[in-house]
């Protein structure tokens, strides 16, 4: 049945209002996750924001004799001693320029906590969960085990790293 002409405008406004409400519902329902995007070894990588506690400038890293090369040493974070890992070396990726800016992400997962030295933190961003896709099968074998997916940020492909799997190896070695 056609809408009576005298109430047509009201009907149109009601429909517009309903569409706006529906759009809001879609926005609320879209699950998002925070990621920390950073560079290492010439590539762009990310870890879940829930696994990152803070981002620091490297400061003075004190080396401990007898540790593997990727274990750079420890740093003093407001009176707490935290271990520091060279993430590129740990993953077997090419090293960035010595002079390039570096930062430390303090990460924690499954009770293991450590600093991860990365090139630089590019962004902390919320991305829709559906935007994180399974990783490519052509991925570098050296890091495949530690990759949880792929996404895109700023027009660049971002490789998502699994902090839990990296820390499992650290605990086992």
């Amino acid at each position: 049945m056609d809408v009576p002409v005298e109430s047509k405008s009201d009907e149109v406004l009601a429909q517009i209002s309903q569409r706006a409400d529906d759009a809001q519902i879609v926005d609320v329902e879209e699950e998002k996750t925070q990621i920390i995007v950073f560079t290492i070894g010439g590539g762009v990588y990310a870890i879940p924001g829930s696994d990152a506690k803070e981002v620091l400038e490297p400061g003075k890293i004190t080396r401990i004799p007898g540790c593997p090369e990727y274990l750079l040493g420890v740093i003093n974070v407001r009176g707490d001693v935290e271990s520091v890992i060279d993430l590129a070396r740990f993953l077997g990726l090419p090293q960035g320029k010595e002079t390039a800016k570096k930062q430390v992400i303090i990460a924690e997962k499954n009770g293991v906590r450590s600093g991860l030295v990365v090139g630089s933190v590019e962004d902390v961003v919320d991305v829709p969960v559906r935007a994180i896709q399974p990783s490519l099968s052509t991925l570098d074998e050296r890091i495949k085990h530690y990759v949880s997916g792929e996404t895109e940020h700023g027009g660049k492909s971002v490789t998502m790293l699994d902090v839990g799997k990296m820390f499992e190896r650290l605990a086992a070695e």
Binding site: T62, R63, I64, G66, P68, D80, S114, A171
Partner: protein, 159 residues
């Protein structure tokens, strides 16, 4: 019949006195309670002593000493050791001139983070002392594998 329980109360340790020196740029501390004494290298009778350089002690390979005034730190024998050292010789650690002797309150000592603990414990390091001018790694001489090998009659190193 009433029995009398004897309570042995241990006093909490308030501080540790560390002899601090550097190895490859890293500050390392030995608890002075584990030391018998320190003397100039030139005054040591090498036939009566079993000497090991600090780098050899931590398994970092042999290091030629550029330092013109090396010192020898003699390790205090453990109770029940009888004669200390290999074949009754005193075990001495050759170090560069120590930087400092510092009293570190226990509250300024931190355990090593779990990620590095296993590697560090394998070389005798057990904690980090936070000082105003940086961090000092504390080593338990008695837990250093090469020292234990020497004490147990292992191969002579450095002689």
């Amino acid at each position: 019949m009433e029995s009398t329980a004897v309570l042995e109360l241990k006093r909490p340790i308030k501080s540790i006195r560390l002899l601090v020196f550097r190895m490859d740029g890293t500050a390392i501390g030995f608890d002075t309670d584990q030391m018998e004494g320190m003397t100039d290298f030139g005054r040591v009778d090498v036939h009566e002593s079993c000497l090991v350089t600090i780098n050899e002690l931590f398994g970092m390979g042999e290091e030629s000493y550029n330092c013109s005034t090396p010192k020898v730190v003699f390790v205090k024998p453990l109770p029940g050791d009888g004669q200390s050292g290999v074949s009754g010789k005193r075990i001495g650690i050759v170090v560069e001139t120590p930087e400092d002797i510092v009293d570190v309150p226990v509250e300024n000592i931190r355990p090593l983070p779990p990620v590095v603990r296993k590697h560090a414990h394998a070389t005798g390091f057990w904690g980090a002392a936070l000082l105003n001018n940086g961090m000092v790694f504390i080593a338990d001489i008695y837990k250093i594998p090469i020292y234990r090998a020497l004490r147990g009659g292992g191969a002579l190193v450095g002689n």
